[in-house]
C-alpha cells in the first residue's frame, strides 16, 4: 500500500521533468540534455537555501528560477553561439556539475532537522507518503493548467508553430530562436522545480542525482503516448503525468522481481528503449491495444 502511494507521489513529482522535456522534445523537437544538470541544480539551490534559513516555499521558487537560468544559458549558446543544441545542453550540464558543488560546498547536502515543504503543518496528520501525493498533485495541476493556458495564447501558438515548422514561423514574423530560448527556459524551470521538490522529499541533494534524469522524463512522455494513443495537446500534458506515475509502478514491479536498486539505471534505459520501439512493433503485434486493456482493467 505505502509503496504504491509513494510511487504515485514520486510519479507526480518526476512528472514535472516529463512536462519540462515535453516542451523541448515534443514541441520544439530536440532532446534537451541540460536537464541532467538542471535537476541537481534545482536541488542544490533549494537545499542550500533552506539550510541558510530561507523558507521552503521561497527556496522552491529559487530552484525554479535557477533552472530557468540554466535553460537560458543553453538557449543563448545554441541561438547566439550557433552551437548545436545537443552539445550546448551537454556543455551547460557539465558546467553545472561544478556549480552545484560550489553551491553546496560538498557532494551531498542533507536537510536533516531542517524545515521542508513536505513537513508543513497541514500535511502532518496524513498517512505516510501522502504528503508527496498532495504536494505533487497540487503542483502538477497548477503546472499543467498554466501550460494549457499558455499554449492557447497567441504567443503559445507561435511557440508551437516555431517547433512545428520554423520556416513558416519565420515567414509569419515569429523568430524561432526566441521561441527556442523561451522553451528551454520554461522547460528547465520545471526541471529545476522538480529538483527542488524531490530534494526536499528525499531529504537531501546530491551532485550525482541528475544522472539518467532525461531518460526518466522521456519515459514519462513516451509511456503516456504509447498507453493513451491519439490525444489533443492539452490531454497529452496530462498523459505525461500519468505516464510518469506508470513508470514508477514499472520500476516497483521490476524491483519486486528481485532486481537490485543498482540495476535501476539499466532498467530505465531498457524500459525507455522498449517504449520508443513500441509504436513500430505495434503495427505487427497490436501491442497498444493489449496495453490499453491492461490499464482499463487495473485502473
Amino acid at each position: 500500500m505505502s509503496l504504491g502511494v509513494s510511487a504515485i507521489g514520486q510519479g507526480l513529482l518526476y512528472g514535472l521533468i516529463g512536462l519540462g522535456l515535453f516542451l523541448t522534445f515534443r514541441v520544439l523537437d530536440f532532446p534537451d540534455m541540460t536537464v541532467e544538470g538542471t535537476f541537481p541544480f534545482g536541488a542544490a539551490v533549494a537545499v542550500s537555501a533552506i539550510t541558510h534559513g530561507i523558507s521552503p516555499i521561497v527556496a522552491t521558487l529559487l530552484a525554479t528560477g535557477a533552472g530557468m537560468l540554466a535553460g537560458l544559458a543553453t538557449g543563448l549558446l545554441t541561438t547566439k553561439g550557433r552551437i548545436p543544441v545537443l552539445l550546448a545542453g551537454i556543455l551547460v550540464m557539465t558546467g553545472l556539475f561544478s556549480i552545484n558543488l560550489r553551491i553546496m560546498g560538498r557532494a551531498n547536502l542533507s536537510l536533516l532537522h531542517q524545515a521542508n515543504l513536505f513537513q508543513e503543518s497541514f500535511l502532518k496528520d496524513l498517512p505516510p507518503y501522502f504528503n508527496s501525493v498532495v504536494i505533487g498533485l497540487v503542483v502538477a495541476v497548477v503546472v499543467v493548467g498554466l501550460l494549457i493556458l499558455f499554449l492557447n495564447t497567441q504567443l503559445g501558438q507561435g511557440f508551437i508553430a516555431a517547433g512545428d515548422n520554423p520556416n513558416m514561423a519565420r515567414s509569419l514574423g515569429i523568430d524561432p530562436d526566441h521561441q527556442m530560448v523561451l522553451g528551454l527556459m520554461v522547460g528547465n524551470g520545471l526541471v529545476g522545480l522538480a529538483g527542488g521538490l524531490l530534494a526536499q522529499n528525499n531529504g537531501y541533494a546530491d551532485v550525482n542525482m541528475g544522472i539518467g534524469v532525461i531518460v526518466i522524463g522521456l519515459a514519462a512522455i513516451i509511456i503516456g503516448e504509447v498507453v493513451f494513443g491519439e490525444l489533443t495537446l492539452s490531454q497529452r500534458l496530462v498523459a505525461v503525468i500519468l505516464g510518469s506515475i506508470l513508470y514508477r509502478f514499472v520500476l516497483l514491479v521490476v524491483l519486486a522481481l528481485g532486481f537490485n536498486a543498482d540495476d535501476l539505471k539499466l532498467i530505465s534505459a531498457v524500459v525507455l528503449a522498449i517504449a520508443i520501439m513500441v509504436p513500430q512493433i505495434d503495427h505487427q503485434l497490436r501491442l497498444r491495444r493489449v496495453l490499453q486493456k491492461g490499464v482499463q482493467v487495473h485502473g
Binding site: Q154, D164, D175
Partner: protein, 250 residues
C-alpha cells in the same frame, strides 16, 4: 504606396573558394498593384531575387525599398510584416501538426507582436470558415484537421490564404503551383488570380508554366544569369505569344 524598388542590387555568395554572383546589378521598379510574372531558366536568379527581397540572402550591393522604406538591414522576421511568400513545397507554408483554423489564426497576426492574450479560436471560427470556403476545395470542412492530413492542393490554398488574409504590401509566389497536378495547379492559379485582383495586391510570381505567365498578371519579366533581360508591360505582354517567350529559353 506599396511600390517595390530594387536599385542596382547584387547578390554574391561564397561557393568553395570562389565568389559566385547570383544577382547582378538588378534594377527593377514594381508599381503598386502590379502583378508581375517572372520567367527564367533554373539558376537564372529568380529565387535569389525573392530571397534578396525577403532578406533570406544578404545583398552585397544596392538597395531594396518597399513602400518608401529601405529594407536593407532588416531581418526576414521584421520584413514579414510587409512581405508574404508562398513556396513551391506545400509543406513549407503551414505547420503540419496544427489545425487549419490554428494556422489561419496565426497568420492573421503575421508580423505582429504575439501577446499572452488567449488566441480566441472559437470566437473567430465563423470568420475563418467563411475565409476557407473561398478556396472551394473542402478546406472549410477541414478546419479542425491537422494540415498534414490535407491534400497538396488544399495545403497550397491554405498557404495562399495565410499569405493574403492580413494584406501584405508585397506578395511573393515562388513556383507555388509547380508541385501540384495540372488540374489542381489550374484551380490554385485561378484562386491566386482572384485574390490578387480582388485585393489589388502588388505581386511577383515565379513560374515555369509559360501559359500561366502569359495568361495571368499585368507584366512579365525574364531573368537570365542574374539579370533582367526582358520586361514587358501590360500592353506588350498582351501581344506576346508562347513562341516569343520560348525564344528566351533556346
Amino acid at each position: 504606396m506599396a511600390e517595390l524598388i530594387l536599385d542596382h542590387v547584387t547578390v554574391n555568395v561564397p561557393v568553395a573558394t570562389e565568389v559566385k554572383t547570383l544577382l547582378q546589378n538588378v534594377t527593377l521598379t514594381v508599381k503598386n498593384g502590379d502583378f508581375v510574372t517572372v520567367l527564367g531558366h533554373n539558376g537564372a536568379g529568380k529565387s535569389t531575387l525573392f530571397n534578396a527581397i525577403t532578406g533570406d540572402l544578404p545583398v552585397s550591393g544596392g538597395t531594396v525599398t518597399l513602400a518608401g522604406k529601405k529594407l536593407n538591414g532588416q531581418r526576414p522576421e521584421q520584413r514579414a510584416r510587409h512581405i508574404a511568400r508562398v513556396f513551391q513545397d506545400p509543406k513549407m507554408g503551414t505547420a503540419p501538426r496544427m489545425t487549419v483554423a490554428e494556422n489561419l489564426l496565426l497568420a492573421s497576426h503575421r508580423g505582429q507582436r504575439l501577446s499572452l492574450r488567449s488566441r480566441g479560436l472559437n470566437a473567430q471560427k465563423d470568420r475563418l470558415k467563411e475565409l476557407a470556403a473561398k478556396t472551394g476545395n473542402g478546406l472549410a470542412e477541414a478546419l479542425d484537421k491537422p494540415t498534414e492530413q490535407l491534400s497538396g492542393g488544399q495545403r497550397q490554398a491554405l498557404s495562399l490564404l495565410m499569405a493574403t488574409m492580413r494584406e501584405p504590401d508585397l506578395l511573393l509566389l515562388d513556383e507555388h503551383t509547380a508541385a501540384l497536378d495540372p488540374h489542381t495547379s489550374q484551380s490554385i492559379m485561378m484562386l491566386t488570380n482572384e485574390i490578387v485582383s480582388n485585393q489589388d495586391l502588388t505581386c511577383l510570381m515565379i513560374t515555369h508554366q509559360v501559359e500561366d505567365a502569359l495568361r495571368y498578371g499585368t507584366r512579365l519579366i525574364v531573368l537570365d544569369a542574374g539579370q533582367v533581360v526582358a520586361d514587358f508591360d501590360r500592353k506588350r505582354k498582351a501581344a506576346l505569344t508562347r513562341d516569343d517567350v520560348l525564344a528566351f529559353f533556346s
